[in-house]
């Protein structure tokens, strides 16, 4: 078996990549299903455009974090124009590594007393 690359060499992930990997964890999804999954999970805060999704997917595939799945939806709701994607073991490792990285960042911030509760007020008035 081929030696797996060091997951940490792939960090940091963009928010889009992070969410795509998250969506594929535990499910084999086609493109638009990923878009919807991300949108639902983030309550609409992150809406991937089709172009953004596929450029990110292409990248993840090239890096072998994601590959194509042979599992398909039931014939009734299937569409042969679609392809389904799944996360690879390397992808899972990278996702875990990225989560660790983010957690450690959070810890450092909290230690300095920075909380996510309220945003600092932005001055909106005209100068």
């Amino acid at each position: 078996m081929q030696q797996m690359d060091d997951p940490r060499s792939f960090l940091p992930l963009t928010p889009q990549q992070f969410h795509i990997l998250l969506s594929l964890t535990g499910a084999h999804l086609h493109g638009y299903a990923i878009i919807r999954d991300v949108e639902q999970r983030t309550s609409g805060a992150l809406r991937l455009g089709t172009g953004t999704l596929y450029t990110a997917l292409a990248r993840l595939e090239a890096l072998a974090l994601v590959d194509e799945s042979t599992r398909r939806a039931p014939a009734a709701e299937d569409d042969d124009r679609r392809r389904y994607y799944r996360i690879t073991p390397l992808g899972r490792a990278v996702l875990t590594a990225e989560t660790e990285r983010l957690e450690s960042l959070l810890r450092h911030a909290r230690a300095k007393g920075i909380a996510a509760a309220g945003r600092p007020a932005l001055s909106r008035g005209r100068s």
Partner: protein, 891 residues
Amino acid sequence: MMHARLLAVLVRIYGTALLICPRPLRDRYGTEMRAAFADRCDDAASQSIGALLRAFARELADLVVASIAARRAPAATPPVPSPRRSVVRSIWQDVAYAARMLRRQPGFTFVAVLTLALGIGANTAVFTVVNGVLLRPLPYDDPDRLVLLLYGRPGRITQWLSPLNYRDLVGQSAAFQDAAAFTPVTGNLTGEGDPERIDGASVSWNFFSVLGVAMREGRGFIEAEGAGDGDVVVIGDGLWRRRFGGQAGLIGTTIRLDGRPRTLVGIAPAGVALPAKAEFWRPLIFTPRDLAPRSRGAQWISAVARIAGGGDVARATAAVQTVAARLAVEHEAINGGTTALAMPLHQRMVQNVRQTLLVLLGAVGLVLLIACVNVANLLLARAQSRTREVAVRAALGAGRGRLVAQFLSEAILLGLLGGAAGLAAAYWCTRALVALAPASIPRLGEVAIDLRVLAFTFAVACGTSVLFGLMPALSASGGALARVIGAAGRGAVGAGASRPRRALVVCEMALAVMLLVGAGLLIRSYARLQQVSPGFDPEGIITFNLSLPEAKYSSSSSIAGFTATLLARLHREPGVETAAAVFGLPFGDLSASTSFRNPSKPDTPDGPLAGMRIVSPEYFKTMRIPLVAGRLLDERDDDSAPEVVLINQQTARRYFAGENPLGQQIRVGVTLAREARSNNKTIVGIVGDVKYGRLDADTPPEIYLPYAQHAVDEFTIAVRTTGDPMAFAPALRRDVAAIDRELPIARIEPMTAVVGASIAERRFTMLLLSAFAAVAALLAAIGVYGVLAYLVSQRTQEIGVRLAIGAAPGDVARLFLREGARLTVIGLVAGFAGAAAAARALSALLFGVTATDPATFGAVAGALALVALAAAYFPARRASRVDPMTALRTD
């Protein structure tokens, strides 16, 4: 259904847009991306059309950004931040920043997007009509190879041929692959529901195969049917839906047309309308009489031909000209001096409306230009109020290119927003346009938003964004910037910074002047036209058409009997003054013309030609056409009496110059009644000239034949009433039904409407152009107001100083009014120069005014000056009320 079509179009656009993706990405993911895009649009469409268009815009923007990103950082390279990636990031930043700026100033964004949506929407709507009528190919196979044959003497070339000339023209030239004859007819459709009069055509059996029409259901005609075998009919999609509810399985059933059962063999697809408005087609069968040598002069059919492979229109024209020249020699007496030509079918159909539509497209383009100028002005104003921000960014190291990019991305974002809103507006505007358009514009049923329209809108939105975005970007990043950094604000903004804005307002004024002059000329033409006397009095007259089916009314005496009975009944109706039957009602759709000659002279090809009207005696009284000399027709001119004829003044002037036409005899070339009397006819009277087809043309020579001597089976009844003519419609219907229950009444309408329809197209053009001009004037006024208000706010300190050292408030107001007047005068002068050039394009649409009509130009100058003055008044007043102390203290 509209959504589904729109969706399909959007997916196609997206598919095309995928071309900007890097090739590997497109090859691997293209199909999926299209599918995902379609899914996204599906979801959005289930909410609203607005959501769909928003999703579409967002997806396109996303595709652009993602493709740029993918090109800058190909997937194969490791995820190391490279300097090139920062370019992508900067583009993203620009777009995101632009979006934030627009969101932060909702008022500005709203006004800008609304202005653009107005301009783009109106353009898209007009372009949609132009596209459907002028650009979209006809719904026939390879329509560019279809031509109509035109024939006649130079100056009198029409699309009418005699069957013999048709046979020879087509048969003797090798230019055509195939050809078919057709002639318009009307039919009375009876059976379930009210009897209905419908337009249709008699056509050669191969008509549909020449056009290359695939039937919606059933088939076209076969050769045996063209020889008279079986009574068959093909109906159009519109009739099928309207009358038969679009039900399937009708092929083979029988429908009653003109009292005769006909077997339905085919349903033509939507859009097949040759001749215009035809809703049914039946086989055209030439009788031996039609093909007899003496019938060579009877021109009543049209010919459509398909050019053979490798040929073109010029060669087809050359071929038929050769044959026509030969026929002119061989049949000198009838065909002498005639020629023929082949004209592309589409060109012939749109010939009359082309100019109108192109003028409208040009006018609406000017409105868009003005809208652009206004938005540019808004952007400039904002750019100047943002000079400090720009200066800081420049000072922190933003290059000029970067600043331009940022302004441009704001402009393009605005343009796309305006385009999306404009598209939605166009969707409704187009419906309104089609509903308002006069019936004389062909192919309106085919008008729809399609790929070409969307591409047009997109191009217009992007083009205009660059147009209005570039100027503020350049001015803000160039000189203005340096000035701002140099002089730190206090009262330093002088004339220089506002020069581009003044130039824009002058442009705006000039464009508005052009539109106003155009609209003014059309309004004056229309007014002149309405003053033209048609030669009769249309008030109080109601008209309707009747067509007596041959199966029931086969002899002249039965036709004349029906008409006499009907007229007698109508006369007895209370409130009816007079009633008359007429073939060839002015502005109506029945007409014929004929050659005539003095029986003692030989027939010559260039002999007299006149419009032929067949009227019952009361006609002149009903229409109030005056008698000039001799006598009118009366009851004695019946079938057994000697044949008589009336002529109009034009005929007398043109063909009987210097002699007394009364008592002279003529022979008439064409007969319309079934059992025609064709002896010599004595001229017994001269009546006043009447306008026929159009108010803006000269009265043609006319002859009037008595109905009793020429009983035609298709005619109009005109009834003069004492009240509101349409109130008599039920009574008239009752009278017709009392004589023949199965006979439908067609086109029941007041005579004023018949005349009005002839100028409906002008009215439409005039109203649209006036609306455009009004919008233009409004936008120009806003522009003047904006510039002056800006100048006042920029020069508050200067005004304060002036007032403090003793200037009267009136002087200050006058200062700004003078500025407004200066802009207006320059704009007017530039606009007049443009208008004088542009009005030439209008000249074909004008009547009774010249393209440089001084009154119109003067009125426009006055009106626009007034509007500009009003727009300048408010800023000037504000300037005069400046409080010196406050002004001097402001920063």
